[in-house]
């Protein structure tokens, strides 16, 4: 391949515990000097990925290169990376000086050089004159500064930061964010930063990697990620958004909320189901006029400091969130306009549930770890593998888990204007996607029921 200008090359990294994969074929390429943030909800695999990069965890498969050298099997102490840990991980029996000098002393650097570099590192993190303090007597913010100094003093090629600011209070966090950004500029080291805080990611990064369920959802600049999310997960996770079901009628025309809108997207084909994302600040709201695209009635209005956040209900039952500098009273009739360029259209990841199943007999199919009754299927063999399709809105959820044919817990909730789109996971790890108007909470244990009429059996091509 010759020279590449990537400092980090993660190719097809997977990490599995038996059947369960925490990381599923993750590839990531980072340019030298970049500030990359890996962003995702807890449990999305971002910390696992960082640990694999640092060498504390071993990938089940895949290859890691740093500065062109394959380090997949190199132990952590020989890798040209240093880590800043979430809980600081300072050595409690050493003072500030000895903590920072730890790496240099191991490398047998001369004493006067160590002195000079420790002083420089302390100055860099704004902790001059703290050399002889006991690390246990420092505040959380000061401990984190020492931890950063301890890492950067070794002049690593890559600095890994594992939610370094998560344990600090809001004010401190904001200050440290700015300092980290400055530090990144002065040092010129590549930063790989892990966080679940989307605002932090948008503030700090050159590039954001959005992860969910062990997969990379999108890689891009903060503006790209914010303005052009590739799917509804990213749109929902980054910032506030209205996510709606729509249909691409033809190029540049999309239909949602019962109306056709002009948009700027092309190439989706005709009459294709899509997700439509509109940021709350991109909806223009005004007193009722005839020139608006949509009409509605204000349901709530909350002052948020700079702007007001309002929800507006349209006559056909959609709720839209709007942020505007002007307040409209609750109950007021309003009209709304959305610019074509502010309508973001994205492919749906799926349009209905698809499960792998096995025929038990002509009227029973085994899937999701249990048996379901289905309409009679003509000439099937017992034990034949089939694909089963179930529409999102035909899956019933019930409070009482004993009433269901299978049990799952609600993992992810997406509000789609007039209904919720839930991801429900069964104990076996199968995901079931459900459209419902009922309100469920994240983590609810629910019973799942599917009627025989709603199960569509598709034979697999032999």
């Amino acid at each position: 391949m010759g020279e590449s200008n990537f400092i980090i090359e993660l190719s097809h990294i997977s990490k599995c515990y038996g059947e369960k994969c925490v990381l599923d074929d993750v590839s990531l390429y980072v340019k030298k000097g970049e500030f990359v943030t890996i962003l995702g909800p807890s449990g999305c695999g971002k910390t696992t990925l960082l640990k694999i990069l640092a060498g504390f965890g071993v990938a089940t498969s895949g290859e890691i290169k740093i500065a062109g050298a394959d380090i997949t099997d190199v132990p952590p102490h020989l890798r040209p990376v240093n880590t800043v840990f979430q809980r600081y991980a300072l050595f409690p029996h050493l003072n500030v000086y000895d903590n920072i000098a730890f790496g240099l002393k191991l490398k047998k650097v001369k004493q006067d050089e160590i002195d000079a570099r420790v002083r420089k590192a302390l100055k860099m993190v704004g902790m001059t004159d703290y050399e002889w303090r006991d690390v246990n007597s420092l505040s959380g913010g000061q401990q984190q500064r020492v931890a950063i100094a301890r890492a950067i003093i070794n002049r690593p090629q890559v600095l890994l930061l594992d939610e370094p600011l998560a344990a600090l209070d809001l004010k401190m966090r904001k200050d440290m964010q700015m300092e980290l950004k400055d530090m990144h500029k002065t040092l010129g080291i590549t930063f790989v930063y892990v966080t679940h805080d989307q605002e932090e990611a948008l503030t700090l990064s050159d590039t954001i990697v959005v992860m969910s369920e062990g997969r990379v959802q999108q890689i891009g600049t903060p503006t790209d990620i914010y303005n052009e999310p590739v799917n509804s997960f990213v749109a929902d996770f980054i910032g506030e958004s209205n996510i709606l079901n729509g249909e691409m009628v033809r190029d540049r025309v999309v239909k949602f909320m019962g109306r056709e809108f002009e948009c700027v997207d092309e190439g989706f084909g005709e009459n294709t189901p899509v997700d439509v994302v509109i940021r709350p600040e991109d909806v223009y709201i005004m007193a009722r006029t005839d020139s608006g695209m949509l009409d509605g009635v204000v349901q709530s209005c909350i002052f948020k400091g700079v702007h007001y956040e309002m929800t507006v209900l349209t006559p056909n039952g959609y709720e839209i969130m709007i942020q505007d500098y002007n307040a409209f009273e609750v109950g007021q009739e309003v009209s709304m306009i959305v610019k074509p360029s502010d309508i973001h259209v994205m492919h749906k990841e799926r349009v209905c549930n698809t499960f792998e199943g096995k025929m038990v007999d002509s009227t029973h199919v085994e899937m999701l770890g249990t048996q379901f009754l289905c309409n009679e299927v003509a000439d099937v063999e017992v034990g034949e593998s089939v694909l089963v399709e179930v529409p999102f809105n035909k899956v019933e959820l019930m409070d009482n888990k004993e009433d269901g044919q299978q049990v799952g817990d609600v993992r992810f909730i997406l509000y789609k204007g007039d209904h919720y789109h839930l991801t429900v996971r069964t104990a076996d790890g199968d995901n079931i996607y459900v459209d419902t108007t009922d309100v469920w909470d994240d983590g609810d244990i629910v019973g799942i029921r599917i009627q025989a009429d709603d199960i569509v059996i598709k034979k697999q091509a032999k």
């Binding site: 132990p75 240093n82 029996h93 246990n136 890492a151 070794n154």
Partner: protein, 268 residues
Amino acid sequence: MKRFFAQTYLWLLLAMLYAPIVIIAIFSFTEAKVLGNWTGFSTKLYTSLFSGGVHHSLLNAIENTLIIAIVAAALSTLLGSVAAIGIHNLRGRKKMVMNALNNIPMLNPDIITGISLFLLFVSLGITQGYTTVILAHVAFCTPYVVLCIMPRLQQMNPDIYEAALDLGATPLQAMRKVIIPEIKPGMISGFILAFTLSIDDFAVTIFTIGTGGLETLSTYIYADARKGGLTPELRPLSTIIFVTVLLLLIIINVRSQRAAKKKEALVK
């Protein structure tokens, strides 16, 4: 009134517990052959205890006891530390099993431990003497050392080992420079505990000491008592041992109190 009874009860209990020791300590400062006769204050028993002569075998027993205690304590501290770190890094069921295996020898009656070790040494054909006593003492002291070190490991920030590796330490260096300093207080407490356990052990020692004429303090006193009448020099000796153990206990307590205070300060 309730308070008065509670106080009386407490003092009575303490008096009962400590009376024998206090009596021995008092009568160690007189010359009478029989315990209970006060023939005036004297430190003669103390000087004769250390002057050798007739009591040469007693001094010898003390020396053996101390050597065995120090060697056994050192070995079990080493073994216990390694075992504790190993158990700490296990997960789930394996950890539970290992913890249980560590606890069983402590609950096992000494006499059983003694007999089984005796049978083991005999069946392996090891000549009984210094080595067997030390091995036996290491066997029953190690679990206590593990118990002293485990809490230190549990309190430790689990990331610091990885942090050391990250900064360029080899696994061995990380162990020496980061983990050992963290568990050192536990190791010292463990050593002291093992030392005192070894000094006062009788049941295991008697079964593993063999017939080669090796005597420790406990076996010497036992033999002496069976010969009829205790040597008066045992009185000053008991007093010295009591004071030593008391001092060690105070050291252990002060240390653990300091550690607790330090932890409290950390939480703040």
